[in-house]
Structure formats: structure tokens, C-alpha cells
Amino acid sequence: MLRLVRLAIPALIGLGLLAGCSGDGEELRVFAAASLTDVMPRLVEGFREQYPSTDVEVAYGGSQALASQIEEGAPADVFVSADVLQAQRLIALDLAADRLDLARNALVVAVAAGSAIDSIEDLGGNDVRVALGAPGVPVGELTLQALAQLPAAIAAEIRKNVITEDPNVRAVLSRVELGEADAGFVYRTDVTSASGLRAVELAGALGTAPETTYVVLSIAEDDPPSEDADRFLAYLGGPEAAAILRAAGFEPIVRTT
């Protein structure tokens, strides 16, 4: 059932968001990338211990989809993008007030806990089924980068084993969870939050693993961002949030200022 819910979330992005628009001013509305589904409630909980009077409502979706919705006027106070590109897009449109680079998340290969797959080269083997993100979709682009770093012959072997190029990372993860694929290219945190799965790190085989940077924006079209949004950004940039993020498999970005 949980798997089903996870699958349904990316598939139904938008619908819930659009239906959930209310005019309540006391509420902090956060649009967060789908890959934050597991860690965000913990961050919100920590934030609310400090500011109990602020209600926080989080909507999840693909970063691209969320950015489009904000562009369309969806009422978000804070946007957490899994992709620098989408954050930059909103900044270019003058929709963002403040920016915080939150954390990094590395691309890994998710396999079943008992799988014999130990390195990216194993993905080219006989009878191995591989799921990845579609080209253009953030996780798909990172996967293309990873494959480009491999010797061409191995990359070609892996490509032959690809059974699906999915629209989002949760869909990729579900293939491995359901046993339909032996391996899927996902973010490290996706594996941390899933049960029965193990992450095969890419850093060893590739030198450096492709990674994505999470960027937090306070959204303000006409007025300055709400006080609550400022506070939330400050909390996310603090040491407590960093600890929560690290526990979930993210690499918090240490601020020098």
C-alpha cells in the first residue's frame, strides 16, 4: 500500500496542489521536490517546535512541475527544488526573494538488499533489467552524465538492459521495489527511505558521482516574503536541519557566512 501511495504521488502531481489552495494567511505553504517526501515532515516538525503557532502545509511534486505551478500563480511561500535549473528559472522570473543552497544528493544505483549487483559494470550483465529516468527529467539527465563517464562498451551493454525511462525518480524507485527491475538510477536518499533496498555507490567507478543540489527559495511575487518564510529558510540553514538532512542521506551544504 505504501508503495502504491508513493507511486501515486508523482503520478498525481498537480491535482492535489491545485485543489489545496486556500487563502489562509497564517499558514506557510511549502512546495517541495518529491524526493523530500520522507525528510520534509521531520524538518517541519523541528521548525514547529520553535514556532508552534505557524502551520506548515507541504505539497510534493517534481521540481519542474512545481516550478511551473508557481509560475502559474500557485500560492507557495517556499519552494524547495531538487534541481538548480528550476530554481534559477523562478529567480529569472523575479518570483524569488531569497535563495539558500540546502544540500546535495548523489546519484546511486538502487538494488534489492539481496542482489548480487555490486558495481555499475554489473548492470550490463545478462538478464539484468535496469530502470532509469527519461532524458530531460532531472534524474534522467544525471543518469546520462553517469553513463557518459563509463567506457562506451559498458554503457552500451547497460543501455541494452534498460526496460523503462520514467518521468520521475519515484517511478524509477518503484520498479526496483516491485522487483520489475533489478537496478534503478535514483538519488541516495531514495534508497535510505525505502525498505529492502541497498545503494550501489557510483563514486568508486566514476571518480565523482553526479549529484544534484537542493535549492530553497522564498517565493514573493509582489510583496516581500512572509516572516514565516524567512524563519523557515533560517531554520533550514541551521545546524539542526543539517543533522536531520544528514541522517536522511543528504549532504548538507556547510555555510561559511
Partner: protein, 270 residues
Amino acid sequence: MNEGWTRRVVGRGWVVIALAFGLFFIVPLVGLFVRALTDGDVGAELRSGATWEALTLSVATASLATALAIILGTPLAYLLASTPSRWARAAATALELPLVLPPVVAGIALLTVFGRRGYLGEPLDQAGIQISFTTAAVVLAQIFVAAPFYIRSAYGGFLGADPRYEGVAYTLGLSRWQTFRRITLPLVWPALAGGAVLCWARALGEFGATLLFAGSLSGETRTLPIAIVTAFESPAGLAGAVSISVILVLFAVALLLVLVRSTSVRGAYR
């Protein structure tokens, strides 16, 4: 006098509500077209090989699914309608269940049977036959989700056909097959054609079950609705998604017009 006035206002109110409701369907579609023309690039999508691949795959699979729904669904609907039993009625109701299932659930249900670890999928996989994540899975997902529209319509048609016509045909010496072809089929033709069009349209728009059960590979399993959602999650974003959507809508309208014309009630009795 007074009563006539009331009736006139009520009469007009009725028309206003009807027109407003009609606009509820038309305005969003107009918005989609305006959006595609201002933000999107329909021409670029039309020239894109990936979009054509998705379009031809969608049309081919939806048509195959509809053909199979007709070939296999017509005898099923006829059997159920001509069996005067409580069980037949219960079975007819059960066949409508896929209509209420969210498509994602339909996809999971199909995986439990035909998936790599499914009841049939696992032994087939060991025999070297793969169903999930193939074009065949796209067709199966579409049949599962869309064929009930056809079966339901055909069942209603067969139920409504007066059995006395068939009885008379038998007494006049027509065989069972002749009776079915010359008497029953013309009687139920509008129901069959209407059901087939609905089935085809639903299959063409199928997304949730297909993505889950068949995946998304260009040219193999990425149908147009999946291509639209993929575009929406890529940097092309909304602009790309609406451009492909417009192509889907235009194509569906064109084909539906042709289908409705060629299967109109008037034509059926010719």
C-alpha cells in the same frame, strides 16, 4: 399569464445553465490551445521524431486494444445478456469494476498477474517470455481499463434488443449465425459503435496503468500521454506538455469525427 412568464424564465434559466455547463468543457480546451500557441511550439513537436513515435504508438495500441475488445467483448456481452441468470447479471456488474479503479491500481493489479513476479508472469519469464514493460503490456493495460466501456455498452444493447425478432427469424428458417448477423447485429449496432468509440478514446488517453505496467521507452511503450507527463517534468515543462497535448486532442477529434460519421445510426440501418 403569470404562469407563462414563470415558465419562460425557467425555460431560459434552463438554457443558460445548459450553455454554461457546455462552456465548462469548451473553455479549458480553448485555453489549452491558446496556451500552446502562445507559449508552446506545436510545430516543433510535430517535427519531432519522438512525438511522432509516441503518437503512432498510441494510435496503434489503442486501435489494437479496441479491435480485441470488440472481437472478445462482443461474444462475452452477448452471452451475459442472453443468459437469464442472477450470476450473469453479477458478472456483468463485476466487468464494470475496472471503470471505478484508479488506473494506477489497475496497473498494480496487472503486475500481480503478468509482472516479472506475477502469477503468470513468473513462469512465463522463466520460459523466456516477458510481458510487462513491452508493447504487449501497453495493449493489455488499455484493454483492462478501456474494454469495460465497450462491453458495458454492448451488454446494454443486447439486453435492449427484443428477442422476438430473433424468434421470428428462427421460424423463418434463418440459422443462428444468420440471425445474429442480419437481425441482432443491426439492432444493437449503435450500442456497439458507441461503445467502441468510447473504448478507443479511453485507451488513447490511458496513462496510469500503462506507466506502471508497461513503463516508458520511446517507440516501445511511451504513449502520447506518458510523453506529455515526461515533458511536463523536464525543462520544456508546461510549454512542451501543452504542445503535445494539443496534437493529441486534434488527432483524437479528427479520428472521432471520422468514426462517428462512418458508424452513425443512419448509416447502420442502410
